[in-house]
């Protein structure tokens, strides 16, 4: 069953430039979908439309069977969101954030209390449950917001760049919790610029650029769109022209990225080592799919 159906959704803020254009997407129950794209790709715009915070210019979005414009109240009962760059209140504790949020959403006092305790324990926030958030690290503060959303046990949870600004350990912790709850059958929509995050967590990925949906599918099908199967990073003095004989080359200033086939890998490796270059070989990653689809890296401007 599709829990989200977006059909030709478009949004312009100024009447001229389209933040989102004819965006069409479906999400199945229980899956974790990542919206992948650079800044300005339209990810947050789509999330805000789907979570009834922003009105689209045209097109329709149905979440869990309800239209986000005409039946917004019905949608809001069934979803939760962690907005991009959201922060907890500095003078409130993790317990207070989660407990009062659940209470506001309509849970009974006992239910809210029980669920707050359970999710704070599961998300390793129990020890600091009574510490005001201004005294907690950035990772713990972000975890409070994720706990607020997950504790709702909503049918669909939207996470808008939930690990932005976190260190690698903080990111891994948040991934662990998201992965854990995704396995319990909740549908997640995640926006991210982090390829590793999308690759680790997602069942399917939607690649966006400049408001347009470029590609959409599971990781295998997206990777199969890239002709070359091998990625080689070459650092050192080697001719870019020469490398182009073996596949497509991207100059990343400090290194060259070559996409090629397995049959050329040995030859290229020998060539690089003859020139005293450092070589790394790996299979195609999601980042490479993104580069091949969008033309530049996820953090670069075209």
């Amino acid at each position: 069953m599709n829990v989200l159906e977006a059909y030709k959704v478009s949004k312009t803020y100024d009447g001229k430039n389209w933040a989102l254009l004819d965006f069409t997407l479906t999400i199945k129950r229980g899956e974790l979908l990542s919206l992948l794209g650079r800044n300005g790709a339209g990810k947050t715009t789509f999330i805000n439309i789907a979570t009834t915070q922003l009105r689209q210019t045209r097109g329709t979005v149905r979440v869990l069977g309800y239209d986000v414009i005409k039946e917004a109240k019905s949608v809001r009962r069934l979803i939760a969101i962690v907005p991009q760059e959201a922060r907890p209140l500095s003078l409130a504790t993790p317990w207070e954030h989660v407990y009062y949020y659940l209470l506001a959403r309509g849970l009974s006092i006992n239910e809210a209390r029980e669920r707050t305790a359970r999710y704070l324990r599961e998300m390793d926030l129990w020890e600091c449950r009574n510490v005001i958030s201004s005294k907690l690290s950035g990772g713990l503060r972000q975890r409070i917001l994720v706990a607020m959303a997950i504790a709702t046990e909503a049918e669909m949870i939207f996470l808008d760049e939930p690990t932005i600004g976190l260190d690698p350990i903080g990111k891994m912790n948040v991934w662990r919790y998201i992965g854990q709850y995704a396995k319990k059958g909740c549908t997640f929509v995640l926006t991210t610029q982090d390829m590793e995050e999308a690759e680790i967590l997602s069942d399917r990925v939607a690649v966006m650029d400049r408001g347009i949906l470029i590609a959409y599918g599971d990781l295998q099908s997206l990777k199969s769109r890239v002709k070359s199967k091998i990625r080689m990073e070459i650092k050192g003095n080697v001719s870019e022209e020469k490398l182009r004989e073996y596949g497509s080359v991207i100059n990343l200033t400090d290194k060259l990225l070559l996409y090629t086939d397995e049959k050329f890998a040995d030859e290229v490796a020998k060539l690089a080592m003859t020139n005293n270059c450092q070589v790394t070989i790996s299979p195609i990653r999601l980042e490479d799919v993104f580069i091949s689809l969008v033309g530049v890296g996820p953090h670069e401007e075209a």
Partner: protein
């Protein structure tokens, strides 16, 4: 039965928003209440110093109204801060919480901070012999309606703010217009121009101030004018709250 259940749920939501955004922060930093009371207390000192006790009831009423205005106008800043900077309002939009219960919760939360200062001025009114049961009830009612009116106005304005630098721009301007321009701290008779004396009733704090001044015996208003002002205040409050429900941007356009 369903309506009763919905009402109880709404009360619970209002309490939850009040607790998280008002009670908990105030519990940890009660000095905010001093910041709301310090200007009215300073005015009390200086006006008494220069004007003697002649204007005392006006200053005491003015203090109550000013603190009420300050705590309710701060809702404009706080609501916009929660939406634009902390992005927490988005979590409430994407939930069963509606704009009216959310704004009421924030308004009560902000008002709690002003209660200590308002109590001080009520005590002073009592000590100076201006307060009895009737005047107390009238004062509380007019303060309550002022709170309902100005907090709705504050939330409505905040929903249209989009830039962080706007957050602290409009609050002080509104507070000055509502507290010091109209006859809150002075008798309306000091406005000699008859046109201005009529126009000043457009400012929402004029009527509650006049009602409060009359309740403590500082102003003289006939029965007809009293009824007209009460009806006007209630209608004004209902109008602003209706505008809040209809026009406040819970969903951005």
């Amino acid at each position: 039965m369903k309506r009763l259940k919905d009402t109880l749920n709404a009360i619970k939501t209002i309490y939850a928003v009040t607790a998280l955004f008002g009670i908990m922060p105030f519990k940890r930093n009660p000095f905010w209440s001093i910041s709301y009371g310090i200007t009215p207390l300073a005015l009390l000192f200086f006006i008494n110093l220069y004007g003697g006790s002649r204007y005392l009831p006006y200053v005491l009423i003015g203090g109550i109204i000013t603190i009420t205005v300050a705590t309710t106008i701060s809702l404009e800043t706080d609501a916009a801060f929660l939406r634009i900077v902390l992005k927490l309002q988005a979590m409430y939009v994407a939930s069963p919480v509606g704009p009216l219960t959310y704004s009421l919760g924030l308004a009560i939360g902000d008002f709690i901070t002003g209660v200590p200062g308002i109590l001080i001025f009520f005590v002073l009114l009592h000590l100076y012999g201006y307060l009895n049961l009737v005047s107390g009830i009238v004062l509380l009612t007019s303060v309550g309606l002022t709170w309902a009116l100005i907090s709705a106005l504050g939330f409505l304005i905040s929903s249209f703010l989009n830039d962080i630098k706007d957050l602290w721009t409009y609050g002080p301007i509104l507070a000055a217009i509502l507290s010091f321009l109209p006859p809150v701290y002075y008798p309306i008779e000091l406005i000699t121009n008859p046109v201005l004396r009529m126009l000043v009733y457009i400012i929402p704090t004029t009527v509650p101030a006049r009602i409060a001044q009359a309740a403590v015996g500082a102003a003289s208003i006939d029965f007809f004018e009293t009824v007209l002002m009460w009806v006007g205040l209630i209608l004004y409050t209902l109008l602003i709250n209706a505008m809040l429900v209809k026009y406040a941007r819970w969903r951005q356009p």
